[in-house]
């Protein structure tokens, strides 16, 4: 059965990837913008999923890192730097700030940590809003250019969508590799039982800081793509509610599941758009949908799937056992 499941999974994955490349070719400007936004938010949510889902460190500051990345990209590219250089700076900057933000996590856990990071998120917003010499204050930064990639201008929506999708693909592969590496295993050990992880010789200090830094760096990448996507940024999109939204994406999709952020971002970005025909009711319906989902499955959408698969596996195993038992009995 498992020999059949793997090619099926690969085929399914290829169909989804082909779909993401081909189908949007007929989309209008707005549809492409929403889909690009999904790709960008998925990157940010994957970062938070590393910090929260794999390493078990609650953070309400991911939105602030998207902001840091976005401002880094906006400031650099409007001054003539190429986007890849800006992304690199966004990564280094978010990584460094994320590392520092990890220090409170060495002292406090759970809800206390949530509130330290929440405070950081609000402080970052105040800096974006008040340091107008750097960030343009409430007027923000406009005319953020989109890059030329291999000589191709991406200022039209479709090429830039492919930039976002390509970045998502690169980040996905990197995260895939990371969670299978010893680092990923150390993160999970940290989540499951920090004390035991320490007794097994895992440097919990270093990995806690790493979990924050790497997760934050991915937030920075998302921000560095968000700035050229919207071509205009001001402090408002990076307030606390973005951090809360990203947290919601990770939990709703399924924290600690690799594909959780993809689904969570889909729900958070696309569902309100689909519900838009309900006019003013769409965010209300979205809120109700999230609450119902969490009551039904607190481990998110992939939690439901996971339970279903586990149940099927148990069933299959007990069926095999029954067959084996009856064979044994007939043999006797």
């Amino acid at each position: 059965m498992s020999g059949f499941a793997k090619p099926l999974k690969i085929a399914l994955g290829l169909i989804v990837i082909a779909g993401l490349i081909i189908v949007p070719m007929n989309f209008n400007r707005y549809g492409l913008f929403i889909l690009s936004q999904w790709a960008v938010m998925t990157i940010a949510a994957m970062g938070l999923n590393l910090t929260l889902g794999y390493a078990g460190q609650v953070s309400l500051a991911q939105g602030a890192f998207v902001g840091i990345g976005a401002y880094a990209a906006a400031i650099m590219t409007t001054h003539g730097w190429p986007l890849p250089a800006a992304i690199l700076v966004a990564i280094i900057l978010s990584f460094a700030v994320g590392w520092v933000l990890g220090y409170p996590a060495l002292r406090v856990q759970h809800h206390y940590l949530a509130f330290v990071t929440l405070a950081f998120s609000t402080l970052a917003f105040l800096v974006f809003r008040n340091e107008s010499w750097l960030t343009g204050g409430i007027y923000g930064i406009s005319n953020i250019p989109r890059p030329h990639i291999f000589g191709i201008a991406t200022n039209k929506p479709l090429p830039f969508y492919y930039v976002c999708l390509g970045s998502l693909a690169i980040v996905s592969l990197a995260v895939w590799w990371l969670i299978r590496s010893p680092w990923g295993r150390a993160f999970m050990a940290l989540r499951e039982n920090p004390l035991r992880a320490q007794s097994l010789g895992i440097d919990t200090r270093r990995y806690t800081l790493m979990a924050f830094a790497i997760g934050s760096a991915l937030g920075g990448v998302a921000g560095a793509l968000y700035a050229p996507l919207t071509q205009y940024i001001d402090p408002v999109p990076f307030n606390l509610s973005l951090s809360l939204d990203l947290l919601m994406m990770v939990i709703v999709g399924g924290a600690g599941f690799y594909f959780g952020p993809f689904l969570g971002a889909m729900i958070a970005v696309l569902l309100p758009e689909w519900l838009r025909f309900t006019e003013g009711y769409y965010l209300m319906l979205y809120a109700v949908a999230v609450m119902l989902l969490l009551i039904w499955s607190p481990t998110g959408i992939l939690g439901i799937l996971d339970r279903y698969m586990a149940a099927r596996r148990t069933k299959a195993a007990s069926a095999l056992r029954a067959v084996a038992k009856s064979r044994l009995e007939t043999a006797q």
Partner: protein, 291 residues
């Protein structure tokens, strides 16, 4: 110096409201490990319930009673039965996320069914100033302070002096033992939810005349109350009261002595410092670490 006195009085008045909201927050945490991210929206909603009652023709006093009752049914009973009970066994985080969604839901519902504009709200305290020690102090500040102090005193008396209060504390501190010695733990938890709903309705009644009724007003208030609760001690009612007053005063002093742009940063930096050096809060007791 006169300025400082005025700032202190105004700070204590806002602080008293933060304290009311923060106390409810710590009560829910103690009895059911609920972090209610919608607590700010819980304060915003009762004012609109009262306004709705008044629009339907009810006099102000009746609207207040209806508003408090409805708030206890919706934000106490329904909140516990429909959201907290089904999610309690799944741990803190999913429930916290669900209350975030609830906050969005309440905000959007008010915006959609009532108004996106700020509405004026009648005050239970007459406007005007009185003179204290040669300073003109607004009756509103005094009224808010007095009502909030009375409410908090009433609550602490209930918790510390009555057998009902002792049962509530027992249920909060150790549900298993409380159940063995015959405390109806479930009923005590429900009671804390009803008390929280009552306190937020009261806070709503006190604060809305000053800041107007607006669908988005819960965000700032909720955050201030969280900070107050954590600074004072997440698991202590008296901590939440002290934290509330402290944050209120600090907020008002920061507004005039620090730059107005970064006034909001002062309580936050204070919060980070307190959490790093005394995670259990200024008056809280440490929660044991479990292996």
């Amino acid at each position: 110096m006169s300025n400082l006195f005025d700032l202190l009085v105004a700070g204590l008045a806002t602080g008293a409201i933060y304290a009311l909201v923060a106390v409810g927050f710590t009560l829910l945490w103690q009895t059911s490990q609920t972090i209610n991210f919608a607590q700010g929206e819980f304060v915003m909603l009762p004012a609109f319930l009262m306004l709705a009652a008044m629009h339907a023709g009810a006099p102000f006093w009746l609207a207040i009673i209806l508003g408090i009752l409805l708030s206890m049914i919706l934000l106490g009973l329904a909140f516990k039965m429909l959201l907290v009970d089904p999610m309690m066994r799944h741990g803190v985080l999913p429930l916290a996320i669900a209350t975030m969604a609830l906050a969005i839901g309440i905000k959007e519902a008010v915006k959609q069914f009532f108004s996106a504009e700020a509405s004026p709200f009648p005050s239970i305290v007459p406007t005007g100033d009185i003179s204290i020690l040669g300073h003109a102090v607004s009756l509103q500040s005094i009224g808010v302070l007095v009502v909030a102090i009375l409410a908090v005193l009433g609550l602490t008396t209930l918790l510390n002096r009555t057998s009902l209060g002792h049962q509530m504390q027992a249920a909060a501190q150790n549900p298993t033992v409380a159940r063995i010695i015959g405390v109806p733990v479930e009923r005590m938890i429900l009671l804390t939810f009803l008390i929280n709903a009552f306190l937020v309705a009261l806070a709503s009644l006190l604060i809305t005349p000053i800041y107007l009724a607006k669908f988005s007003s819960g965000e700032v208030l909720g955050q201030a109350a969280f900070i107050a609760a954590i600074v004072g001690g997440f698991n202590q009612v008296r901590g939440a009261i002290a934290g509330g007053l402290l944050i209120g005063v600090l907020d008002n002093l920061a507004a005039s002595y620090v730059s107005t742009q970064y006034r909001a940063a002062v309580p936050l930096i204070f919060l980070i410092v307190v959490i790093l050096f005394r995670p259990q809060g200024l008056l809280g007791r440490a929660e044991e670490r479990t292996v």
